[in-house]
């Protein structure tokens, strides 16, 4: 298993206005999986994604990624762990408009203190993988939405992370482009040494999932690809 989450509980606010975003959520992800977490707005998908990727500390429960109980790490160690192990694709891409496409892709390597030239060389190779080699010197705002998403994917994979987290990857794309992107991810990015977790409510891309977890009211709907007894 690359990731195991057990008994995740999360609430926001103080009593009596306290609301539970997650209630005792448990699941596991194996290498080679492309797991979808789906559900309506407010069901807890994004909160769960934040907790399993080491961004939001849960009220209760454990998250073990590659054998490390991530919420036992201090904040700097956790940031380092995210940098080494997890690649992120954000819903709004969050590419720096003042940097070139190539420099945007190189950021995780630069954060890892890799030499500048080597980081750019790796970023260039990764841009070739996502088919944007010829756009490397352009700023992201000169690219289409689909191209920006591919740059975002290139940034997520450039440092060869074991776990990729996609947050609503098709939300800003038209249906055709969204499907093409996800098909590309499944074909070229997913492999046996890596797992991909995608949070989405875009049913048009469900066909590419290897497994789907459905969430409602902060709980995983039984029988949707998760063993609740684990």
């Amino acid at each position: 298993m690359i990731l195991t989450a057990k008994g995740i509980t999360q609430s926001f606010g103080e009593a009596p206005n306290q609301t539970y975003a997650l209630r005792d959520v448990s699941f596991a992800v194996d290498f080679g999986e492309m797991l979808y977490i789906v559900g309506p707005s407010g069901s807890g998908k994004t909160t769960l994604l934040s907790i399993i990727s080491g961004i939001l500390r849960p009220d209760g429960g454990d998250v073990v990624v590659k054998g490390t109980d991530i919420w036992k790490l201090d904040s700097d160690a956790l940031a380092g762990f995210r940098l080494q192990t997890i690649g992120f694709v954000f819903q709004d891409y969050h590419l720096f408009p003042r940097l070139t496409t190539l420099e945007n892709v190189a950021i995780p390597l630069i954060l890892r203190r890799e030499p500048w030239d080597r980081s750019l060389a790796e970023a260039r190779k990764t841009l070739q993988i996502v088919g944007l080699a010829e756009k490397e010197s352009l700023p992201p705002y000169k690219l289409s939405g689909g191209e920006q998403q591919r740059v975002s994917i290139a940034r997520a994979i450039v440092a060869q992370p074991d776990l990729l987290i996609f947050d609503e990857p098709t939300a800003s794309l038209d249906g055709d482009t969204g499907r093409k992107i996800i098909a590309f991810v499944k074909e070229h990015i997913l492999n046996a040494q890596r797992a991909i977790i995608i949070v989405t409510h875009d049913s048009r891309i469900y066909e590419y999932a290897t497994r789907i977890i459905r969430m409602e009211d902060g709980r995983i709907v039984p029988g949707t690809g998760v063993d609740h007894e684990k």
């Binding site: 994004t46 994604l49 934040s50 990727s53 961004i55 939001l56 904040s75 700097d76 940031a79 380092g80 762990f81 995210r82 940098l83 080494q84 997890i86 992120f88 954000f90 819903q91 709004d92 969050h94 590419l95 720096f96 003042r98 940097l99 420099e103 190189a106 950021i107 995780p108 390597l109 630069i110 954060l111 203190r113 890799e114 030499p115 500048w116 980081s119 947050d167």
Partner: protein, 378 residues
């Protein structure tokens, strides 16, 4: 340069509008601060011109004297008393006063008259034309050839005019290192002629110039002079006394300080607000960097670096601009009193560093507080 700082620099430089606003804001602030303080330094320096030009190690004066221009005459016995103090190598009388020069065309011009000790001519200027010994001729005056030389009709050697209704003949032209502050021509003559020709009070000696035998004797001489009821200062102490007078008793220092603070606040507000906007523009991206794995310390490093870059660039351009303006003004205005000093530069640098620290602080506060979870929440 490490990669993160390189990214920080690119983020800064590629936001051309904000970058230009930041640099121009700090440049203007530094320019104004430098201009104010340089002007004041120039005024202080030129107001002490007599002290520098004469070059005496110690000056004896009435305790009420604050500046070299406003002497209070002392009786002759003080000179004898000072000469008898152990540790005094020699002491000579010195006269500074104002004379009214009537030019040959009938016009009048005020001038500073300096009377040098007849025997030693101690404190004499560097002669550039003529001979110093000609000062002993009848009615002889030595004219300082500076920016105010033309005010007496640019006299040549042999030119004569009247000073306080006494005939005066220019016998030599001289040069002094520091021009006076008040734009008056300067004429040197002997102490005796100066005190005879110019209307005076009962006492005649403006200052007594003292050369101590050694530096160790200075304190004892000062004590002895104090017992006589007078004040003995080293040249530097006299300059400091003059500086304090202009700084605290004329209102000039306060006005310059207020203007400098206003200039600082202008820079602080422009740079602070623009840098804050710059950080706000990049805030969500900083949040994304945090999510990816950047530590808060690394983001702080980037922001501090950016603010220091604009700070130092603004400082450099500001100093360059103010130095150029002062240089041009000195070419066009003869007695322009402004000088860039290391103290002014250091003060402006400290102000710029405060601006940079303040600007980065408000940016850092935002970046530290951003929660990467917000990136997911949109």
């Amino acid at each position: 340069m490490n990669g993160l700082l390189r990214i920080a620099l690119k983020l800064l430089l590629n936001d051309k509008g904000k970058f230009a606003t930041l640099v121009i804001g700090i440049t203007l602030s530094v320019f104004l601060m430098m201009q104010m303080t340089s002007m004041f330094s120039g005024i202080l320096y030129q107001s002490a011109s007599n002290i520098v030009n004469v070059g005496a190690r110690m000056w004896v004066m009435d305790p009420a004297v604050q500046t070299p221009q406003n002497s209070i005459p002392m009786p002759n016995y003080v000179l004898d008393a000072v000469r008898s103090i152990p540790g005094v190598k020699f002491a000579v009388p010195f006269y500074v006063g104002a004379g009214l020069v009537r030019l040959n065309d009938g016009t009048y011009q005020s001038a500073t008259i300096i009377g040098l000790d007849d025997a030693s001519l101690f404190g004499r200027p560097a002669i550039i034309s003529g001979r110093i010994t000609d000062i002993y001729q009848n009615n002889a005056f030595i004219m300082v050839k500076d920016a105010n030389y033309a005010k007496l009709g640019s006299p040549k050697i042999g030119t004569s005019f009247e000073i306080n209704d006494h005939r005066a003949v220019v016998v030599a032209l001289a040069h002094t290192p520091v021009p006076g502050l008040f734009g008056l021509p300067t004429l040197y003559t002997t102490y005796n002629r100066a005190t005879q020709d110019l209307p005076s009070t009962r006492y005649l000696i403006s200052y007594i110039l003292v050369q101590p035998k050694s530096t160790q004797d200075i304190a004892a001489i000062q004590q002895q002079v104090k017992r006589l009821g007078y004040l003995a200062l080293t040249d530097q102490q006299f300059i400091n006394r003059n500086d304090r007078f202009y700084e605290f008793q004329t209102g000039m220092g306060t006005n310059i300080l207020i203007m400098t603070l206003i200039s600082f606040l202008v820079g602080l507000s422009i740079a602070g607000e623009t840098f804050y906007m710059f950080v706000l523009d990049n805030l969500e991206h900083f949040g994304a960097l945090k999510a990816i794995g950047a530590k808060s310390g690394e983001l702080i490093q980037m922001i501090v670096f950016q603010s220091l870059v604009v700070g130092f660039l603004g400082f450099g351009f500001g100093v360059l601009l103010s130095s150029t303006m002062i240089a041009i003004a000195k070419l066009k205005i003869a007695n322009y009193a402004a000088m860039v000093t290391y103290e002014n530069l250091f003060m402006a640098l400290i102000m710029v560093l405060i601006i940079s620290v303040f600007s980065s602080y408000i940016g850092i506060r935002k970046v530290i507080r951003i929660d990467p979870f917000d990136v997911f929440r949109g």
